[in-house]
Amino acid sequence: MADKTIIITRFDPDQDEKPRKQEYRIPCEDHWKVLDAVNFIKDEVDPTVSHRWSCRMAVCGSCGMMVNGEPKLTCKTTLSDYGDRVDIEPLANFPIIRDLVVELDGFMHKFESVKPWIIRAKERAEDKASRHPEKGTFIQTAEELGNYKQFSMCINCMLCYSACPVVANEPDFLGPAAIALGHRYNLDSRDEGTEERHDIFRGEGTVFSCSYANECSEVCPKNVDPAAAINQAKFGAVIDWAKGLVLPRGGTN
């Protein structure tokens, strides 16, 4: 047990012109995660602090915050790894709604724009041949599963958007999690939507905006490695471009 000063960013749009800092000196248990300190303040010291959290087991993705300047999933981040003063701010690169709560509108829009669902060329009724006759499931080998599995592990905590230097300068950049998600479906052996997602990985604000900083993969609490997804998608786009130079109709037919 040690006392620490927890500094929380406060912002209420009805009262504050800009975010301010508020300090709380509280007793902290040795085993606490950073989230436990924020919850203690909310429950026992100042109920007006607003933050999001739910599962407290690093899978719902709600409790991302900046901790001493770095994006962290606070339920997975050990408090005792930090010194006497711990500075907790809302995730960077997102608009603030209130205190530690950021706005997800832009993120959700990017997320939906990659068509994150299985696309089949035919409707289900006419598409039976590729499935197990009795069970109705697709055959997918362990190797085919392995191709995309890692990119299906994203919990949408958005830490990668806070860490990304491109998102900071170019808010419309599709960003690590959304690109990794679209790429995940392109890599899934059950999916036939690569063509339909074609434009998502071309042009402005998408894979070629990435500057190879690799920050996204470093902060990812689930080892999804979105930077690898972006690089793979880029490689695919370059191959397409090269095919377009040597083959008629861009090699797409």
């Binding site: 209420d12 749009p13 009805d14 009262q15 085993h31 909310k42 429950d43 026992e44 100042d46 109920p47 007006t48 607003s50 933050h51 999001r52 959290w53 739910s54 599962c55 407290r56 087991m57 690093a58 899978v59 719902c60 993705g61 709600s62 997975k76 709604i97 209130r98 205190d99 709560v101 997800l104 959700m108 939906e112 068509k115 994150p116 669902w117 299985i118 289900r124 499935r131 197990h132 069970k135 109705g136 499931t137 697709f138 055959i139 997918q140 080998t141 362990a142 085919e144 599963l145 995309y148 599995k149 299906s152 592990m153 919990i155 949408n156 998600l181 479906y185 899934d188 059950r190 999916d191």
Partner: protein
């Protein structure tokens, strides 16, 4: 006040709600489906499920076996017509989920793999390593995005059902971001808000599990059924209550006492030769008995036993149970490859819930429920692990199917009168916001509620503590009406939301403890020290609790029996 009209309004964005939304959107593409949730759907607590989802898949399995296992697991309190429908629909529903992209683990031939689970005769639990809930939720949520007729209301808290002439015609919902109320009208409403484990101090449940849907229905006069049956999962991490999946034992893990013994061999609740694969109620009792006999370990967060995976080897743990390894390392500092994991029974699931029929319909026209918040009942007095996720799919789809048909034949409600109800509700909640004149803080009442429930409704129960719990929860109902709140802001006022949740929790808790005190027998998860045997003569019925200003009023409903005749439940 903002008023919007839809055909179907779904409250809750977890597995049951998303499945219902997809079914409704597909069945009637011209219908407008509102999906209202207090959190973004991918934050829903379905995300925390680990082990898998049950449906027959192997040559050595059949519907009869899955049905019998489930009836026996329920200690014969489940409705057998519902179980029959459930096991029949289960393989189709999981195949759909596979088609929609869920990354199920595979056999060598590329078919979906299944694993062993407690109380299940053979391997019928479909899995995705040890994160089925996460993958199911994300697959459903992402698939739902292709339907343009699903309109999401993310981070809207529903605090009242809008009712006209006895029919449910919409909800009043607080937009958490703005603090403004909305009237969201629908020709039918489906409640899919999950359970309420947070009424207990030690639970696997996330903080959002506050029994909201149950409380909404209850306050509207719809009975809650079988609320006394609360599932303790045998293996939670001491302190946090974080779930360590039953799949650890399905994959060959052992429970050991302080003498290093595989004590479950002595109890012999397992199916087949697997002593560790008994049903959850029995394994939880065995752990408590070991601890009471002095063969547990003591720790800062209570006594515990060991879950030993060390003999499985690092490869198997990494391929089948990677999340368990991560959780044990991060939250209790133990690497299961080399060291047993400390575990103890932890509140996990509510078998009871809003009374519905086989179609997910409640007794109120226009109101449906599915998933943990509902009680169909396929779980009776004890649910088998991996049946609940499948239940969300089967009955989420069934409820949507019937709600869409109901909506077609139903007239639009009177907007002015429904809006007036929502305005009245908005006024009530406005008075609560920043209510500094109140007596006690949220955290004080919640702590007391947690303590009452732990004392009254543990793995073992007895009349004296149950009766004390009845009095104490009734008293809390008065006190929660006099909360002291500090936060006057309208924008993202989580203190206000927590206050509304706490009211729901107190109501659900009171029903739970009153129902438990009434059932003077031991059946499934409801085990009484003073009534140690099952009593079919006097208690083979569902407990029905109705709202009354004086406290829950109890009634009975017949159990639907069938080909599986109640017998002694022996494994």
């Amino acid at each position: 006040m903002d008023v919007s009209r839809h055909d179907i309004v779904i409250v809750g964005g977890g597995a049951a709600g998303l499945r219902a939304a997809i079914e409704a959107a597909e069945k009637n593409p011209s219908a407008s489906i509102a999906l209202v949730s207090k959190v973004y759907p991918m934050r829903s607590h379905t995300v925390s499920a680990e082990g898998g989802a049950a449906a027959i898949a192997r040559e050595d399995d059949n519907l009869e076996l899955h049905g019998y296992d489930t009836v026996k697991g329920s200690d014969f309190l489940a409705d057998q017509d519902c179980i029959q429908y459930f096991v029949e629909q289960a393989p189709k529903e999981l195949a759909l989920l596979e088609n929609w992209g869920c990354p199920f683990s595979r056999n060598e031939d590329g078919t979906v793999a299944t694993r062993a689970f407690g109380g299940m005769t053979t391997k019928r639990t479909w899995y995705a390593t040890d994160k089925i809930g996460f993958h199911m939720l994300h697959a459903l949520f992402q698939h739902s995005m292709r339907f343009k007729n699903i309109v999401r209301y993310d981070e809207f808290f529903v605090s009242k059902l809008l009712i006209e002439d006895g029919s449910c015609r919409g909800v009043a919902a607080l937009d958490i971001r703005t603090g403004e109320y909305s009237t969201i009208l629908g020709r039918a409403v489906i409640l899919t808000t999950g359970g309420g484990g947070k009424i207990f101090p030690f639970t696997t449940n996330g903080t959002i599990k506050t029994g909201d849907g149950m409380a909404l229905a209850y306050r509207a006069g719809v009975p809650l059924k079988d609320m006394e049956f609360v599932q303790y999962h045998p293996t939670g991490l001491p302190g946090t209550g974080i779930l360590i999946t039953e799949a650890t034992r399905g994959e060959g893990g052992y429970l050991r006492n302080s003498k290093g013994e595989r004590f479950l061999v002595e109890y012999d609740y397992g199916v087949g030769n697997k002593a560790e694969l008994g049903p959850r109620d029995m394994i939880s009792r065995a752990i408590v008995q070991e601890i009471e006999a002095g063969r547990g370990f003591s720790g800062a967060y209570g006594d515990y036993v060991h879950l030993d995976l060390t003999h499985l080897g690092e490869d198997k743990i990494n391929t089948r149970l990677p999340f368990v390894r991560e959780l044990a390392k991060v939250y209790i500092g133990v690497d299961p490859v080399t060291t047993p994991i400390p575990v103890r029974p932890v509140v996990h699931y509510m078998m009871g819930g809003i009374d519905t029929n086989i179609h997910g319909a409640t007794e109120m026209p226009g109101l449906y429920a599915a998933g943990e918040t509902a009680c169909v009942s396929i779980n009776g007095a004890n649910r088998l692990g991996s049946n609940s996720l499948t239940e969300c799919l089967v009955f989420g789809a069934a409820a949507a199917n019937h709600a869409i048909d109901f909506a077609k034949g139903s007239s639009e409600g009177n907007e002015a009168s429904l809006r007036a109800q929502a305005e009245e509700e908005a006024g009530r909640v406005e008075n609560l916001r920043g209510r500094k004149k109140g007596g006690e803080r949220i955290s004080e009442i919640r702590r007391e509620l947690n303590s009452i429930m732990e004392n009254a409704c543990g793995v073992y129960r007895e009349q004296s503590t149950l009766q004390a719990g009845v009095g104490a929860t009734a008293q809390l109902r008065g006190r929660v009406a006099d909360l002291r709140l500090e936060d006057e802001s309208k924008v993202f006022n989580t203190e206000l939301i927590t206050a509304l949740e706490l009211t729901n929790m107190v109501e659900v808790a009171e029903v739970l403890v009153v129902s438990a005190a009434h059932r003077k027998e031991s059946r499934g998860a409801h085990t009484c020290k003073d009534y140690t045997t099952r009593n079919d003569q006097d208690y083979l019925y569902h407990t029905m609790a109705r709202h009354d200003p004086a406290g829950p009023r109890l009634g009975k409903k017949d159990v639907v029996l069938g080909k599986w005749v109640p017998e002694e439940r022996k494994y």
